[in-house]
Symmetry: C2
Subunit: 438 residues, 2 copies
């Protein structure tokens, strides 16, 4: 034990210092308060799940990124005693890579004790073994709301509105909700002649539109071996749709009609009308504080979506700040009976990094005062009594031993967001509170 240990966190992991935790706590409180006003309630699932659940959880590419937890004791010994131990048999648990797979298991497990529909808030850490890079971490917080048990598109309306309200509460403005329906994407791909079994790959290419442009999407589809004619129809559609000035039309309310005319007839009227209802309702209740627009190129990565999907973008920031959609076929994998479900997830880490870029400071709940004393001279119990009586007045009081260079000590207090200080003057004397220069 004499060797000095490394003090860095594990690769891709972070230490959160007081200033960042204060912003995160403020954001979590603002989000939670908003969602609770909408009648959502917090639930929690464990950070670890059985590895079989995670491996089969429809996590898309996240399945490659699971942190797997080693079996223990005899069970591990048995596996390692095999002639050539298989990687897949060494783990019995894994860390959750999102909050949706655990939520669905949670719902199936506790359905009889839960409200119907369940309107759930989940805020907690998830884990992915990604290659660490700027702004991407291996442990990060997700912040989801889900409605389980409601078939009506009212659930979508409410999720979009609640998430937008939460973003407004976080001081985000003028953001844009993009909305689409997985069934519209399927109808598009089908009408352009892509094979049904190839659709997922078509969507993966389309999902890169913002990054690689229409030409890029075309090339990627071609090199994946799709029929040239199908590829041409797809890029033609994208060209045409992207040149429409829907933003202007949206103000006049005719963007949806124009959009409909671009879509193939195979898009069912029921699917389209549900989308129109959600867009129209959200526009009505938004009061112009944010926009919602139909975007047939919106894909979303996860494989489990079955209906409407949405994403929120902020002007000036490239990646989205929130995303979600309907997944009506997941609960049935556990309970044997499908239950309709929709979710919307705020990109919490993205939000925090934007707030920190903006140098945002959450307001303080109370004045923060340093009560400075001399541990070798002052009667310590009296210092505590004096601090407590200041706390009774509603102040945050941090008792600190006087340092040799008190000027330097006071400067440090300013950095730590203290408003004032007082020097302990004995049990009988009222401490004189002095403001700190900021």
């Amino acid at each position: 034990m004499t060797e000095t240990l490394s003090s860095a966190p594990a690769r891709g992991m972070r230490d959160l210092l007081p200033a960042e935790v204060a912003i995160r706590d403020w954001a979590i409180a603002a989000i939670t308060r908003t969602y609770e006003q909408f009648g959502f309630t917090r639930i929690e699932t464990p950070a670890m799940e059985n590895i079989n659940l995670l491996r089969r959880g429809e996590g898309g590419e996240n399945l490659q990124l699971i942190f797997e937890v080693l079996k223990r004791g005899d069970k591990l010994g048995k596996e390692l005693a095999q002639p050539s131990p298989s990687k897949d048999n060494l783990a019995d648990l894994g860390l959750r890579f999102d909050l949706t797979v655990p939520l669905v298991r949670f719902y199936a497990n506790n359905q009889n004790s839960l409200p119907n529909p369940l309107k759930a808030i989940q805020i907690g850490p998830v884990f992915r073994a990604e290659s660490p890079q700027a702004g991407r971490f291996r442990q990060f917080t997700q912040c989801d709301i889900d409605v389980i048990g409601m078939k009506s598109e009212f659930a979508e309306m409410e999720l979009v509105q609640a998430t937008s309200q939460a973003l407004l509460a976080l001081n985000f403005k003028d953001f844009r909700v993009r909305i689409n329906d997985r069934r519209i994407l399927s109808a598009l791909a089908e009408s352009f002649g892509f094979e049904v079994t190839q659709q997922d790959r078509v969507f993966i290419a389309l999902d890169k539109l913002d990054k690689i442009g229409i030409d890029g999407v075309g090339k990627e589809l071609e090199s994946a071996g799709h029929k040239p004619d199908s590829v041409k129809q797809m890029t033609g559609f994208l060209e045409k749709f992207k040149t429409l000035d829907l933003t202007q039309l949206a103000t006049a309310g005719s963007d949806l009609q124009v959009s409909r005319e671009q879509l193939p007839q195979s898009v069912s009227e029921e699917v389209w009308q549900a989308l129109v209802k959600v867009i129209t309702a959200v526009r009505q209740v938004s009061g112009g504080a944010y926009k919602i627009e139909f975007d047939p190129t919106l894909v979303r990565g996860m494989g489990y979506y079955t209906g409407q999907i949405f994403e929120i973008e902020c002007p000036g920031y490239s990646s989205s700040v929130a995303g979600g959609g309907r997944y009506d076929k997941m609960v049935g994998k556990f309970s044997g009976r499908d239950v309709p479900a929709v979710g919307f997830s705020i990109g919490f880490e993205r939000i925090i990094s934007i707030l920190m870029e903006k140098n945002f400071k959450p307001g303080k709940s109370a004045e923060k005062l340093a009560l400075i004393f001399e541990p070798d001279r002052d009667p310590l119990a009296d210092v505590i009594v004096a601090a407590n009586s200041l706390r009774m007045r509603g102040l945050i009081v941090c008792t600190l031993a006087r340092k040799k260079d008190m000027g330097k000590q006071l400067d440090a207090l300013v950095v730590q967001d203290f408003n004032s200080y007082a020097v302990f003057k004995g049990a009988q004397a009222e401490p004189e509170i002095k403001q700190l220069k900021t």
Copy 2:
């Protein structure tokens, strides 16, 4: 994917339903508010640490309980390609088993960006691969405060007082703080003739006093092969000390003097006086709301304590609700330079289970109303507008589709802590709010 998946959480893990999360959130808010009034600030460390850190982290018996995370990709392949792969080389990460080991790494890593002293609040999940049993889980929340960088026993006074105030804020009453010093334990063991190298084992036996009694401790020490004379002196001391009626004496203020007389002369006056100062100061500031008593039989499990140690017990409950102590030698393992440190940890899960046993219900922040509508008939945007205008009045409003049996639906709302409901009557009509019977 046709096979139905199991919906139970992993062994020893829990799903937390809305009612329990509400209690937990209330408790965390009460604790955090109290600690913040004392000038402590929240910090966070990741749930995973490098496995070498955890394995060498002085976690005592917790080292046997680490969940280890499998290496990935080529690194794992390389280990498995060995003739007989070693268990110890398969993992590169592990889940933290407490918040103290990570805190010390955090402090060493971020010392230059942190206030000095650091007064830290940590609330978060820790993981131990224990055999699951009633009330013991493999993931549980810990709730710690620590002062790093203060040598004076003022730190102990403040931690004991802040933790006690937090317990009072959680509606706990008449609890008893037990306090001792590791150096007193060592002096006792030494004066009874136990070998210095055997002291840790002596303390492990002594730690079981409450469970197995004085005879049990004696038998355990004997069967471990300690000298019969040393064992006899130890049990003699325990007999004598336990028959003193210190509770009565504490009121008169003479319990400390009587206790001192029982201790061997080898207990240094400095150690003893520091303990007397803490006990006296805490008694002075407690206002009789809780007790603090010297208890030379208090041990605490962890190996890293170097000075005073404490535990809090509640009348009517066997295991302690909080515990902590001074650990001045841990930071040096990382930074090469020792920094004084003291911590106090609330047994959060114990607190929650006691609150739930007592059927405690946290007060609601606002009236909770169900706005009931018919999704197939009512204009959905208007329902949202009506809900929003009720929310503007400060109500929590949960929009719910009307069920066939509305009487049954209203009964279910009562269970979910709704106060009132209203049936949507159209955009123009003011919804009529009706109270729910409780």
